[in-house]
Chain length 796, copies 2
């Protein structure tokens, strides 16, 4: 993620198989680079087999005289000529292999070290061991283990019988992990002629392939052998056309193109792209544009514009940046997770996309069943309706609710009243950007010309931690209070034990307030309300408002007019839970129903649903909602559907995501995080967070912090600001230093590959929020906490 | 696509590499199947190498006595032990290899033949040659060439040094093509111990792996060698645990599960899924559900419920079905195209999804630039805004237009008038299902409770072919006519030569009608109109209405009040082209602008944009539209954005799609189709179709046909029906027989794999339409034409 330099071009060499001539062709590359006057470092991270046969020795022998500076190094060496993970065990059965992190960091350190040592122009070649998926010392496949470095790749093809297949498969395994293959090299075997087949194959894919002569036969006399081998290398390097020298030039051209591309991207973006939610008038130029070269785990690899624009800089022109909003709350296992790629590829290969009305395919069917029978729909949902994103999923939900209401109350509705049926909700609600769901919210900054707020929204009580204390802020509009009031809560856990609080005076006050408000509305002659729409627990886009769950529970109970759950038919108003943001474990639970003690009639999931890879949404509905659309007239059907409804790729990725979440929730990391959140009595808390409770408490005590809250992967920090609101920039300003990678402290966790990282975060006016993936490593979270702490305290 | 039988289980055997023991382990499978009393057929489609070493001979030798019936056959045999594509050339350099179609059909024919010969229970093993990507005779990779058969697979792993890598890469290449891997078998090499690594690897992926002993060393004495080898096989087959017998049982279990799954899917779908646009009350049961097992090229592979429910049927329980709506107008190169899978995988591996506001990544940047500089936006667009589907893309377009209009005319707008700004459009318009874009259309069957038609819609003149003649149907509402009138047109080409028609009396009549209507609206005090929104050329969902392009041209000119294109600023009203359906060559041109001679201020593309794989939409806007949002206040920005905005996977797939389309438009197939559509004078027509002009003419003469139209990949047939409209079933009834695969005639084109196919098609009330991919083979189109002809004529 931080291995592109002006003065140093680094390539890794992967083999289509073992024994395909990787070392020989790499030796030729090293020698050709040297012959062109470059300083060259050859690195063999892991070598197995006897010392005298070691690849780095070979490289040294035939290249050392041909360059200003060449060196061949090895980081891990084992004698047995087997796969590294076995060689390590054969050397010492009890030894623990280095972790992937240690391993890949040691390679990255050597790259960065060389970048500091050399003034360039320099080349570096990192030769892997065996084939692309040969295991590293830990057992992880090399293609996966090296991925954090994201080095451009030269693939050494297989010239033997069967080598067309192994070369193409190896190439595909690399592509699945996003690698750029800059060139393919292989021996020109005149019998099997694989190069003849592979050359057009790779050229069609924009990849240069060179077929090179086999090395000479090994001679018995060592001196003769050296001379003959040396002549062979000399002929490879000095060939006028199609030689290794031309490949080195080609790699240089691609390296230059890479630098130019990174440099041009912000300008080109500013010229052609219209960003969502961005005031282009406030984008002051290229420096305000994040150039994302790739992404891995929780990190973007972004251009460092200072290094990029300074050709004499010895730093990498790309660097890691923590994706602090989980890319708009979507990332679940980090970026570019191979399991999700494979799931997408599997469904793409089996189906592509297929028509969905009255059709059934396994990915969609399994997903529907999982969500209904054993997911957020468990116990109440009977049907899954597919669409493309949270906004469309909510449009569907609202269409369902309106129809169900209109059908039951049709005779009571006045002429034209259907068009103005109201939504009951909370102030601060947000359900997406399509115009219909915006009409389900109050007029606000997000609204467009056509916006017409249809409904009524309560000012909700919210939960917050300030000065180390948890409190419920009850707005003055709540009937029994004359002004806003902070009610202290014994603990965060207590707040979320809704069932325990259901008979408290506060619950009764909530109920009374709700009932009276609804009666008052009726008396004013407001259009009838047709649905209750809630974002349970947290209203995200509305400003990370953590609503008192008791209020939402009482609201549902009051609206339904019956103890919820006692009938399978919807009562009062259809209740919609918009769980697009909080659902599927983003806040530490699959769904809010069990915690609230009430279940919706309709709910929507998206975002985490597809693990952060691509768009898909699902609207779940109860039987009684579904039945409102079942007649013998086509016109009564839910006439809503998008072209790519239930696209198999999205469904398969969702199935994979849910299976991975199931494992994650039982993992040591989660259990440890849960254990750190305990109640006063030391018992397990009803809610928990991946963020450290002490950190949360401590920052809540800072004078510039107005309040903090956390649940699951979400941390929200409200900054004190006179102006406030969506258009405030205070949070952005206060935490500005987080973005700078060079601020990462020494002992703190680094990004994969060992480089210090900046932090990309989003604000909602005076609220800064941080959202991790569900599997972000505890060390990374601690490191971010430390950075936030420093940012907040240094700015006072 | 049609190779799952009750009485016969078929597996193909792929190797991770050549020389990994494929034939030996397949021999063991054949023998084990025989030992379990199955009839067994072993098929080696292509054999290379000397006859005495041929795999089928080996299999015969060691299995023939161990079963009621075993046979080993070979379809193509070559002496040279090299890759088949070379072996063929070495035998006779001038010989043409069989096409992939011929090749794969010959394999499929043998499978179907065996299914007829045997009463079962039977097993069949199809052993491929070399590795998964080893070329077939034509040079196509086996993994691709065999894909139409979609046979479950046993992968023979590589037990040698490097074999972990080759086995995993081969597996990944198979997954990319959607194959189900039922089992992995490899030799238990005690030195390299690949099985030890691979067993948990595959088990984690739900795949059984068995490691089996190496065969005995070859003995000099032939009789001894036979005995030793025979004993080896016997030991493999008779092993109590982990032997080949247990794998055969496992494959049987999976086969049974596959049948049960196919059988259960319709019921489970009926229980859990809520389909788009489907009246569930009219779905009479499982027979009305299409079970899609996989898809390839233009065909679904669907369950044949008759065969499935009849255990004694000797027919395949799945069969191909032509995707006659191109899966809601999305398919571009057919289903499961490996290039699109690779594009998706590449971006998933490099980025996953990344945050987009103020960020830039290559897939999005390239796509934006391609569309603006060298695509539908060429010459007028300056910005690309990303969203998820046509509906959201149109919501964005409307938000853009409303803002631009409101900004320019803000001082003229009365209080609250902004909320009711109107859209000018055509009756029959449809822009998606979200509530906002539905409000941009008339009230109709698609509307929901909240629907409020905002605007005015002209009844447009339409183009149609009836009785072999082209005519323009001008509605009576058009000022100069007292009733609907058919104006004969000299040819289809003539209709679309808009520039030639711009000074005709009809053009003047259109202009007059439009001007007068708009004036009348104003005088009535209708809310101001703020945008003109058109689906150029064809209104799809509205009933495949082919609008007279002259009318759309005149409408744009009139609304703009200037000769379009003479200023870069929008004038009159912002003009939106909804090209979601017709765009990117669905109707034979990239965009309608050049044909109409006018360009929009805003346009939307989706559907074909991603080649039919997954959702993505782009809204293009001119500079003057964009600038309406550029201020120094965040609140003025276009505050619209979806979580997965500009998701790299979608963008990369779109880039690949556009590159593939660029090639396709220059292909022989397209040139031939274009050449079949000529003007009266033999000159190239301005419009053309993949459908045959004579066929179109002939069906237009049928008495039950009210009119036909075609452009590009689209064929629309309006059936005579008293009732008419969206809820009519007449077209559905008339063409019912198309769905039946058994109706395919003998000499007609078949699906890949050689099986006859049914045709899945969609109707819009009294209109049946057929949409091919952009690359559907001419033979398949001819075959469908023939079937449509027969259906229409036999029903009279």
């Amino acid at each position: 993620m931080s291995n592109i330099f002006h003065h140093l071009r680094v390539h890794q060499i992967f083999g289509a198989n073992t024994n395909v001539g990787k070392t020989i062709l790499t030796t030729a590359l090293v020698r050709a680079s040297g012959a062109k006057g470059k300083e060259v470092l050859y690195l063999k991270p892991v070598s197995t087999g006897p010392l005298q046969d070691a690849d780095d020795y070979h490289v040294n022998r035939y290249t050392v005289e041909y360059a200003r500076y060449t060196d061949a190094e090895c980081l891990y060496r084992y004698d047995e000529p087997v796969s590294p993970h076995l060689a390590l065990k054969m050397k010492d059965a009890t030894s623990e292999p280095p972790s992937d992190e240690t391993f890949v960091n040691s390679v990255a350190n050597r790259i960065r070290g060389f970048a500091k040592e050399t003034n360039g122009p320099a080349h570096m070649y990192v030769e892997t061991a065996g084939g692309v998926h040969s295991p590293t010392l830990s057992g992880t496949s090399q293609a996966d283990a090296y991925r954090p470095l994201f080095l451009p790749t030269v693939l050494i093809g297989d010239s033997q019988l069967g080598g067309i297949s192994t070369t193409i498969s190896a190439y595909e395994s690399m592509v699945l992990r996003g690698y750029n293959i800059d060139a393919v090299m292989l021996f020109r075997d005149e019998y099997y002629r694989n190069w003849e087949y592979l050359k057009p194959y790779f050229e069609e894919r924009g990849i240069r392939l060179e077929a090179l002569p086999h090395p000479p036969p090994k001679l018995a006399n060592l001196a003769d052998d050296f001379i003959s081998t040396d002549e062979y290398y000399e002929s490879l390097v000095s060939a006028e056309e199609g030689g290794v020298g031309s490949i080195v030039d080609h790699l240089d051209v691609l390296h230059k193109k890479r630098l130019e591309e990174l440099e041009s991207m912000p300008r080109r973006g500013l010229e052609s792209i219209w960003w969502p939610f961005v005031q282009h008038g406030l984008v002051k130029g290229e420096k305000d544009v994040t150039t994302i070269d790739s992404a891995y785990s929780d990190f973007f690899s972004i251009a460092n514009q200072r290094s990029l624009s300074n050709p004499s800089s010895q730093n990498s022109v790309v660097e890691p940046q923590f994706d602090g909003s989980a890319s708009w709350w979507t990332q679940t296992f980090g970026h570019a997770h191979p399991s999700l790629t494979m799931a997408a590829a599997r469904a793409s290969g089996r189906y592509g996309h297929v028509m969905f009305p009255q059709a059934v395919h396994l990915p969609a069917l399994k997903l529907a069943e999982r969500l209904i029978q054993n997911g957020p729909g468990k116990g109440w949902a009977s049907r899954a309706f597919f669409s493309d994103n949270g906004s469309t999923g909510m449009e569907v939900a609202i269409k369902m609710a309106l129809r169900a209401y209109a059908l039951r109350h049709g005779q009571d509705l006045k002429d034209g009243e259907k068009k103005h049926l109201g939504i009951l909700g909370l102030k601060g609600s947000y359900h997406g950007d399509t115009i219909g769901v915006m009409d389900a919210c109050e007029e606000g900054v997000y609204s467009c010309e056509w916006h017409e707020a249809k409904g009524y929204w309560f000012d909700p009580p919210t939960v917050s931690i300030k000065d180390g204390k948890v409190s419920i802020n009850v707005p003055g509009s709540l009937a029994s209070f004359s002004s806003d009031k902070d009610i202290p809560a014994p603990s965060l856990s207590w707040v979320y034990e809704v069932e325990e609080r259901i008979n408290t005076p506060l619950a009764r006050a909530y109920a009374q307030y709700i009932t009276r408000s609804l009666e008052a509305l009726k008396q004013k002659g407001a259009p009838p309300l047709a649905a209750l729409v809630l974002e349970p627990l947290v209203m995200g886009a509305g400003g990370m408002l953590f609503v008192d769950p008791l209020f939402q529970r009482v609201l549902v109970d009051t609206v339904r007019g019956r103890r919820s759950g006692s009938s399978s038919k919807w009562s009062g108003l259809p209740v919609i839970f918009d769980e697009v943001f909080i659902g599927l474990n983003r806040v530490g639970m699959e769904s809010a129903g069990p915690l609230l003690g009430v279940y919706p009639d309709i709910s929507v999931n998206a975002k985490v649903l597809t693990g952060g890879l691509l768009p898909l949404a699902i609207t779940l509905a109860s039987k009684s909602i579904y039945e409102a659309f079942v007649t013998d007239s086509k016109a009564d059907a839910l006439l809503h559907g998008h072209s790519y409804t239930a696209h198999p790729v999205g469904c398969e990725v969702a199935n994979e995501t849910l299976a991975m979440i199931d494992k994650l929730t039982l993992s040591d990391d989660w259990i440890a995080a849960q254990a750190s959140w305990v109640k006063e009595d030391g018992q397990k808390s009803s809610v928990w967070s991946l963020w450290d409770p002490n950190f949360v408490t401590e920052i809540s005590k800072l004078p510039q912090v107005a309040g903090v809250m956390t649940l699951g992967a979400v941390l929200s920090i409200k900054v004190k600001d006179e102006a406030g609101g969506y258009t405030s920039h205070s949070a952005q300003t206060l935490l500005q230093s987080l973005k700078d990678a060079s601020q990462t402290g020494g002992s703190l966790s680094t990004a994969p590959g060992g480089a210090p990282f900046g932090i990309h975060y989003r604000t909602l006016g005076d609220v800064a929020y941080f959202i991790t993936s569900l599997n972000t490593k505890a060390g990374v979270v601690r490191s971010i906490e430390d950075r936030i702490w420093k940012s907040l305290t240094s700015s006072t």
